[in-house]
Symmetry: C2
């Protein structure tokens, strides 16, 4: 098992703003993909679409100002069953998000791609919360010929 790890700090004193960006379709569509549907509360399912493909996530945990945990229930084969978590904490003027995408079976090239792509979208989340404007799909930085 190998994991993708990231950390992004947002100049904000509101853990609640970060939490909303991770648990509402309005928030999620502002930084990950503009085509986001479903229910981001615990027990709900979220559908994220990127052109033809995408991911369905079951929301396992949604603890305000603390933690969001999803499990992938549909999407690329390598993603199914993996878990995506966002742990939130406040440090002075910064809201800190510790991100994990856990449970990859092998460190395949697609995992390299997804690691960098998660960073691109977490920077979009940072921008959304700091400036009011993110770069969700289809407007994000394109990394390679796979997209």
């Amino acid at each position: 098992m190998v994991d993708i790890l990231h950390k992004v700090g947002i100049k904000s004193s509101s853990l609640d703003d970060a939490y909303k960006a991770l648990t509402t379709t309005a928030g999620l569509s502002g930084w990950w993909t503009s085509d986001t549907r479903g229910d981001g509360q615990a027990g709900g399912t979220l559908q994220f679409r990127f052109g033809a493909g995408g991911f369905d996530m079951q929301v396992l945990e949604a603890q305000p100002a603390r933690r969001v945990l999803w499990q992938v229930v549909d999407g690329p084969q390598e993603w199914i069953g993996t878990k995506v978590s966002f742990d939130l904490k406040q440090e002075g003027d910064w809201t800190i998000i510790l991100f994990k995408h856990q449970g990859w079976k092998e460190p395949v090239e697609f995992m390299h791609h997804c690691s960098t792509k998660w960073a691109v979208f977490l920077l979009s989340l940072k921008s959304l919360l700091e400036t009011g404007k993110g770069r969700p799909h289809p407007n994000e930085i394109k990394l390679d010929s796979w997209e």
Copy 2:
């Protein structure tokens, strides 16, 4: 042992340009840190400085158009002995860089930080090679209160 993985594609037909950006101080100072000194050829040592701190890398491999491998010989304790590699390949109009920072002992918070920070700098490398202008330190995106 846990690894940081990334993949970045550059719209370029020149593996040589990417190789130069990874093995010359002129290239490295254009995307990672403007304070880069030393010798990027196999057997050489490179000094990367970020304000007070930084990293010294021994160049273990430098194969034109194929691969660059460094080992950290000085820097933060978590980095010492770890290895950083860049594998290059051409796919149509894209130069692909597969990046690994291998040999972390534990998935500490600093590793989360470094993973996202490597993505920030690899996007700077992409920008340098596509537009002629990167965002090396001290002008890169700041991620948290650690910098």
